[in-house]
């Protein structure tokens, strides 16, 4: 009966929303970006923008490369040479490729030099290592993200491929955008939308949902939250691959500077999605995959340097920091 009850339940998820200002001493934005290590997808949306600035475009095009190494024995990652060449210099991230965190053994290397092994029971017992049980229930193929191209020569004995993240740029015309007030996270009736409404709306935009909700539309009742305004054009950019936190921090900094000159846009957004099969979400918080392996965050950057930050995690995750 308990099993049946559990199967019928909707798994719990968490969405944490906070607001602050980039100029505030205690603002956590930098720390939260830099401790979210395994990033799969970064997107930003700029209303009232038809062309991307040179600085932003350069940053977008320079989010890579990342490296794919086949049949890499795990002991290579703990060799002194590897540690001296890459780990001690920082900014080295790695994650096993094509391993499902809820089914397979998974390994992740964090920029702070920690190696996280998420092992099934048999492998754990064979390894003889001391660990702790997962909170939520090889010769490996690894993908790496690194600053330097010395990666190619270091792993020349293995099959290594260099990959560039995929970039997708587009302009949307006549887009209905929610009206937001930076001081009102929960929204105000008739005046501004809430952070939750904005979060869902962003998802609809990046999923290419049409939000017409015309009277004869029986297919979907979902529409842009109200109040809203129509912007003549908006710029959407998505980068997918294995993206370092440092690159995302540079993007965030550049988007903050977007409002150094007067702009029509009242706000811009930056959304980041983590790898569903990473063993950690933020810092060393355990991440799992129950019905979905989501761990993502979104910044709404206002023209007065206020920001909203939304952090969302799934059922097999610790609360975001």
């Amino acid at each position: 009966m308990a099993t049946l009850r559990r199967l019928r339940e909707t798994p719990r998820h968490l969405l944490v929303c906070e607001k602050s200002n980039f100029g505030h001493d205690k603002s956590r934005h930098r720390h939260l970006v830099e401790t979210h290590y395994h990033n799969y997808r970064v997107s930003f949306l700029i209303p009232e923008c038809g062309i991307l600035s040179k600085e932003l475009k350069n940053l977008v095009m320079e989010t890579g490369p990342y490296y794919f190494v086949k049949n890499l024995p795990l002991h290579e990652l703990i060799s002194q040479e590897f540690i001296n060449t890459f780990v001690k210099k920082g900014s080295c991230c790695a994650l096993t490729y094509n391993t499902n965190i809820d089914e397979d053994n998974t390994v992740a290397l964090l920029p702070n030099g920690k190696l996280i092994l998420s092992l099934d029971k048999d492998t754990y017992e064979e390894s003889g290592l001391q660990g702790h049980p997962s909170q939520y229930s090889g010769r490996k193929i690894m993908k790496f993200s690194m600053e330097e191209s010395v990666m190619m020569s270091y792993f020349s004995n293995y099959q290594i491929q260099e990959h560039q993240p995929k970039v997708s740029l587009s302009t949307v015309r006549d887009l209905q955008c929610p009206v937001l007030q930076s001081g009102e996270l929960g929204g105000t009736p008739e005046m501004s939308c809430s952070a939750l409404e904005l979060f869902d709306w962003l998802g609809a935009i990046f999923s290419n949902a049409s939000l017409n909700n015309e009277p004869n539309n029986f297919i979907s009742t979902y529409c842009c939250p109200q109040p809203s305004t129509v912007v003549a054009k908006a710029y959407l950019c998505t980068v997918t691959g294995f993206i370092l936190p440092e690159k995302i921090r540079l993007l965030l900094d550049q988007l903050c500077h977007y409002f150094d000159e007067p702009k029509l846009a009242p706000w811009v957004t930056l959304s980041v999605q983590g790898f569903a099969d990473s063993p950690v979400s933020w810092r060393e918080n355990e991440h799992g995959f129950r019905k979905g392996g989501e761990h993502l965050y979104n910044f709404v950057i206002f023209n007065n340097q206020d920001y909203w930050l939304q952090m969302a995690v799934g059922a097999n995750d610790d609360c975001p920091p």
Binding site: T10, K19, K26, L196, F206, S207
Partner: protein, 112 residues
Amino acid sequence: MLTHGGGWVKGTWNLPVHFFAISYESIHFLNKKKTQKELTGLVDAALPLDVLTYEEKTLSAILRICSSGLVKLWSSLTLLGSYKGKKCAFRVIQVSPFLLALSGNSRELVLD
């Protein structure tokens, strides 16, 4: 808990809706009313369902359902084997209460 910037909103159990990304074979379009009847197996459809996106090229869609209907919808999709006499199968790719999470799927990253 208050951050230095002010209050925060925290969502816990029962965020009101869930989003499904699904793909299906040999069916060209889902008629909403029919879908409700087929999916729930009841004469009078009981679960309001939104089809947010539909892509004919990939035969994939994103659905929205209230969280209390999540299990019913998921099991109905899994068990639905034919439509208008034609065999079909639904594959649930992603499920999340966060629509933004459905805009990308890291398990689809192909490097080989």
